[in-house]
């Protein structure tokens, strides 16, 4: 398991390769469909949010207020990333992301952006909302709650040893492309 601490340097990101298992510690911001469309259309990040050297998490968590009136993350697995394919390359380019956590993989434009700007796609286990919520130690802030609703808001998470696998590295490799090609060839044998 490779330890990855935010802010992440370009050198750290470039040293990762497809298949590496990583544990992420530090600050992670969530952002999914509404946030990506908003940024793509020229929206600005709210004061207090910076993606420079940062890690973005495709996630719409279940969060409630606890007895002390603090946010408590009840469940927080990844959402399907491919929906952000039209926007992700631009968010990587314009906001300095070093890592994107999600599930299901992403397409060619994101693979290219990862290579060009130094970013990796980190695949978390889809549906594993409890194991992943355990790694979220604190939820200091939320942004765009009113505008986008709870699942689509930008949540700020303090995470410790959040597990993920590098499935798109910063060298143009994608596990998703490989598995698709292998499975396509296999299926042809059985038709």
């Amino acid at each position: 398991m490779i330890q990855l601490t935010t802010p992440v340097s370009e050198a750290d990101v470039r040293s990762l390769k497809v298949g590496d298992e990583v544990a992420i510690t530090g600050t992670v911001f969530t952002g999914r469909d509404a946030v990506h469309k908003y940024l793509h259309e020229g929206g600005l990040l709210p004061p207090g949010v910076s993606f420079q050297g940062g890690v973005l998490y495709h996630c719409g968590p279940v969060i409630i207020k606890d007895e002390q009136d603090s946010w408590k993350c009840v469940a927080a697995g990844p959402t399907t990333s491919i929906r952000e394919e039209p926007y992700q390359w631009q968010v990587i380019r314009d906001f300095g992301l070093r890592g994107v956590i999600g599930k299901g993989g992403m397409g060619e434009r994101t693979v290219e952006a990862c290579k060009q700007y130094g970013c990796v796609y980190l695949h978390a286990v889809g549906g594993a909302a409890q194991v992943l919520a355990e790694c979220i130690k604190r939820v200091p802030n939320v942004y765009f709650m009113e505008q986008f609703g709870a699942p689509e808001a930008i949540w700020e998470f303090q995470v410790v040893s959040f597990p993920a696998v590098v499935t798109i590295d910063a060298h143009g490799n994608s596990l998703h492309k490989e598995v698709l090609a292998v499975s396509q060839a296999e299926l042809a044998k059985y038709l």
Partner: protein, 292 residues
Amino acid sequence: MNVLQDSLLELIRRTSTEIPDDVHKAILGALEREKQGTIAASAMKIIEQNIALAKTKSQPICQDTGSIIFYVDCPMGFDQIGFEQAAREAVKMATRKGFLRQNSVDSITGRNDGTNVGPGSPILHFHQHAPEEVSVRLVLKGGGCENVGAQYSLPNEKLKANRDMDGCRKVILDAVLQAQGKGCGPGILGVCIGGDRATGYEFSKQQFLRKLEDSNPNPDLDKLERDIVDTANKLGIGPMGFGGRTTLLGAKIGVLNRLPASYFVSISYMCWAYRRQGVALDFAGRIQKWLY
């Protein structure tokens, strides 16, 4: 809260936080099959830990608590309007308690009022039956797996799929290939051969009420179900699409008559976080037994 609301809240809580035994058994089998030291085996281990943790903490297995689909079998004279009201209240309560995510969005304005109640949510299917008993089954189906569902119209020239069982097999396997890991595999397929576009998809989802270990009473469909699972598991898509030995945990196929002009094959994909539970209720709405 009345008795029925309490029972439905408990049904929602248990469906969201505990995987049914038949599914758990299949997941443990998949965990054993994956080669040790691979990322597929790591993913299956995390899945297994997650199932245990969700149950212990009584918190959602997956944060996408999905479409809320009730299937109600009820006797003649049953108060469906009262049931619907109780179901809506139970959904609101379950959302406040964090068993369900605030998951229902106005499609035009994008507004999420945080209640999970609105047009199309929750979904209720009533079916009248002869016994006095009321049984309520609940499926929570997440959006990631819903998005990889597919409906094919046969013949399909590109896939060389004709209007026969072999054509059905080809399009079902194509759906598995297209889904890759995006639907949170290892998955379970619900399939309907025939019907119109709406009933086809609806009936494909109803297949998820079947237990994984059952056999299809129709020998042709039984054979196809087994073949789909065996073949899919040779493709190397694996858990999460990481590559590996288990791509599907099951396939359940139903059939409806069709019009001479139409031949639809409708495929719903269920993620490994297969949340399905049911209860038999007495006259007062108290839980008599659990159905899975």
